[in-house]
Symmetry: C3
Subunit: 364 residues, 3 copies
């Protein structure tokens, strides 16, 4: 049997694929019912993201460790990248930035916290590889500093010069990508023995044949791009209808939708007492967004956006990213976990989500 069909049969998440044709049909028939389009596109993106992530892993598994690691690291957040690129092309920089900050916060707090909680409810105390967690937390810390500097400088010193922020953002983006590359060299090549158990793939999922994997990768990326267009178009109007602030939509909704597939893997790893996997996915995904997706968006904005995008975030977002990174550092420092650690981390996420939800809609 075709492995793709087999996968679809066994993975209930993929049954949501039915929403993909549904959203296109709805967009054709009722282009004005934004709330419906928003809901349908959310449900359509989740299974597509799961397919993308499985296809990436299959290609990675076939190409050997170094190239595979590279591929996984680059395409692991393809969904987020495609959504953000669509928003970028539409000139919705607020949404792009909110979804970057939101993905970092959601991965470090919600994905990590829920993994600790779900794992801890089943296992009394869980242990994981500290070295690997520290490495990811270190990368994340670096990225957060790079992302906070433009805001801190323009806040603290009332520098009005947009030119300064713009030049600085480009420089920081290049630095972050270089740092990301060196980090891969370190973890995949020179010191890979330190990253023991966190690196093997998800057990139970067998890789697809190369041809199928590549075809899925290409086809699904196009589908994600098409659905994203409807999503980005409808999200603003739908947010108003639901009474949610824009910041809440970008930070929480987009981030949860884009990361749904990875969350499924992280949570199942935690339940199977393979917390290394969960921590690796959560922190790895966050640092990938911060060190790869965000700078690529800045650089790409010079070619596809109406005007270049900078890295200056809304101060509240900077505070949240900083606290999220600090929380991840403190929490993963010991290499041990129990359910209450998960509660603590989730509580921080809830504090943020509540704040963003209550925020008056005008402010972002």
């Amino acid at each position: 049997m075709n492995p793709l069909l087999k996968e679809i049969r066994h993975n209930p998440l993929l049954w949501l694929l039915v929403f993909v044709p549904a959203v296109f049909a709805a967009h054709k028939l009722k282009p004005e019912s934004h709330t419906l389009l928003f809901a349908l596109s959310v449900f359509a993106i989740v299974p597509l993201a799961a397919l993308l992530s499985h296809a990436t892993e299959s290609v990675a598994a076939k190409t050997g460790d170094a190239v595979g690691g590279l591929l996984n690291a680059t395409l692991g957040n393809l969904t987020e990248l495609v959504i953000a690129l669509t928003a970028l092309r539409a000139g919705q920089y607020m949404l792009v930035k909110a979804s970057i900050a939101g993905a970092i916060v959601t991965n470090t707090l919600f994905m990590l916290g829920a993994s600790f909680l779900l794992g801890g409810l089943k296992h009394h105390v869980q242990e994981y590889n500290r070295v690997s967690a520290r490495f990811q937390a270190g990368l994340l810390f670096l990225a957060t500093i790079a992302l906070l500097i433009p805001s801190a400088m323009s806040q603290a010193d009332a520098v009005p010069a947009a030119a300064f922020t713009q030049k600085l953002s480009v420089g920081l983006s290049v630095l972050l990508i270089v740092g990301y590359g060196l980090g891969m060299l370190f973890s995949l090549k020179t010191h890979r023995e330190e990253f023991g158990s966190a690196k093997h793939g998800e057990a139970g999922e067998e890789p697809w044949p190369m041809g199928l994997a590549l075809a899925t990768l290409a086809g699904v990326t196009v589908l994600v791009a098409l659905v994203s267009e409807i999503f980005v178009e409808s999200v603003q109007k739908a947010a108003e209808a639901f009474g949610m602030s824009q910041a809440f939509v970008g930070f929480i909704v987009v981030a949860l939708v884009g990361g749904a597939a990875e969350m499924a893997s992280a949570f199942s790893g935690a339940r199977k007492n393979r917390l290394d996997l969960s921590v690796g996915i959560a922190l790895g995904s966050a640092s990938q967004i911060a060190l790869f997706v965000a700078p690529v968006l800045v650089l790409v904005s010079y070619f596809i956006g109406p005007t270049p995008m900078d890295l200056q975030f809304w101060p509240g977002a900077v505070v949240m990213m900083l606290i999220a990174t600090l929380t991840a550092s403190l929490v993963t420092n010991s290499g041990r976990s129990a359910w209450f650690i998960g509660v603590l981390v989730l509580m921080v996420y809830l504090i943020f989500a509540m704040t963003l939800y209550l925020l008056p809609p005008k402010v972002q």
Copy 2:
């Protein structure tokens, strides 16, 4: 002999009880001499707080571990709660907030630092249970984030909406109390074996009989409430007379007065090389104020205060709470102590106290 009288005979701190009738008499005779009333009420609160804490421990000891832990955790800062409630009823929100922030800072920095210093002057190197210290520091970190978010949001984004801050404060209060409850479930029930030596009570003090303990609890609470009324009335005028800023009074004086009884226990534990006890009291007391007393005050303010109180603190107080929590985290991370660690922590406290003392009186 009556255990209460025996206790009073042996504990010089309790000789200060003579100030209780003194303050009532003075209030009757000289209601206008605020400085005198302030001084008398300070000296009267200290022994009452000591009695309250002993009575609470006695009830806790009799009721078995789970209920006892709960009682201890809930009534441990009864003095601070009663003082704050009195100030709340009088509508003095500045004083309430300053005393919350001050209690957190004083417990994490002064009580912890002085314990390390006093213990370290007698013992070369002292060790204590890291797990327990980390747990308390984690709770404290969570609470600090909850307390800083309203200020950070209204600062950073110039949100003028008081309604937003008010709704957010209620939501955060509920979250904090839930977090506090889950934390007790964790430390007293599901993972109590991890909290080894930090949990047994103060040696040398034998529990009172139940009847005496309950009667003391009730009677002394009433006395604390009555003295607090005089204290809150006189503190402002006395501060002016002494040339102290309001912030200094709330932050430093009220916090030291309210915590005097716990400090006596923490310091004696440190001298006896039972640093677990000292760290447990200092950090436990701070996280109790942050996760229980502060949110209870917010919720109660809807019923007894002239207007509801929110959790938005003066920015300087937020900076100090944040630094205090961070210091406690960094310092207790290793589970070892020597005298200089105490000096470092006390120095941070001195920096804050000096700043507050020098602050121009108008600003708070």
Copy 3:
């Protein structure tokens, strides 16, 4: 052979001494060519700093451990002190403050990061004494809090009172010097056994005879003072000519020049797999600047400057010092290092350097 001449023959860094007469000659002949004078004085200060540091170590080696440690700790940053005093006398407080902040940031990030990187390129994984690193990081953390409080208070609360900042700065300076003294008592006297391998001097350099060492100390200090005068005079004009912001010059250029000698020692230690030495020099030097040089400058400013200097830094500088200290704490927490740790720390430095370089010249 004279040990001084022998040293000069074997140490290529000292060949730069030829720039000392050159800068005096140039100042006489071409007092208006600031760029030339700036460049010459930079090259002249580097070898003088190396001589100063060797002379200090020689005196320290001869006077026994306690006095020697004290001397080393006090005179170790003599070059920075002399440059800052010259700038202070000229009333250039911006330059003084930028060079203090810059020295802290450069030592904790550039010197530490480059040591990790250079050591890590030669050795797979390096270990060092965590206790010693934590002690220095703790001192540094204390100092950073003291340095950030005046700025935080006057920012957050819009206190306009310069008198407040001034009084607070004097109080903080006294506190910092006391803390520094107690720290030496701790590390050199009461708990010296904990500071094992980090304390022995640079191997391969034999101490000079006492007379030569003292004469060098005196003579070279005078030379540094004279060259500093030319440096401080020319730096502003030269910065304009090079298109560098003042903040960049003070933060990066002055700090790199003043610390060149220590960097040479730290880097050579790292290459020889003696990372204890490197970490000790980098963090020790930073905490010495923060806890000794900075407060001494504040106190001395009452006698030699046109007006007293305070400790209120430009907010951007506070953010950078805070991040630098936090980075040093997080990174040295494990006591292990590999090349990528060095890259991470250097990246943070590069982010700061790039930001300062791009900063519009008017803002500082």
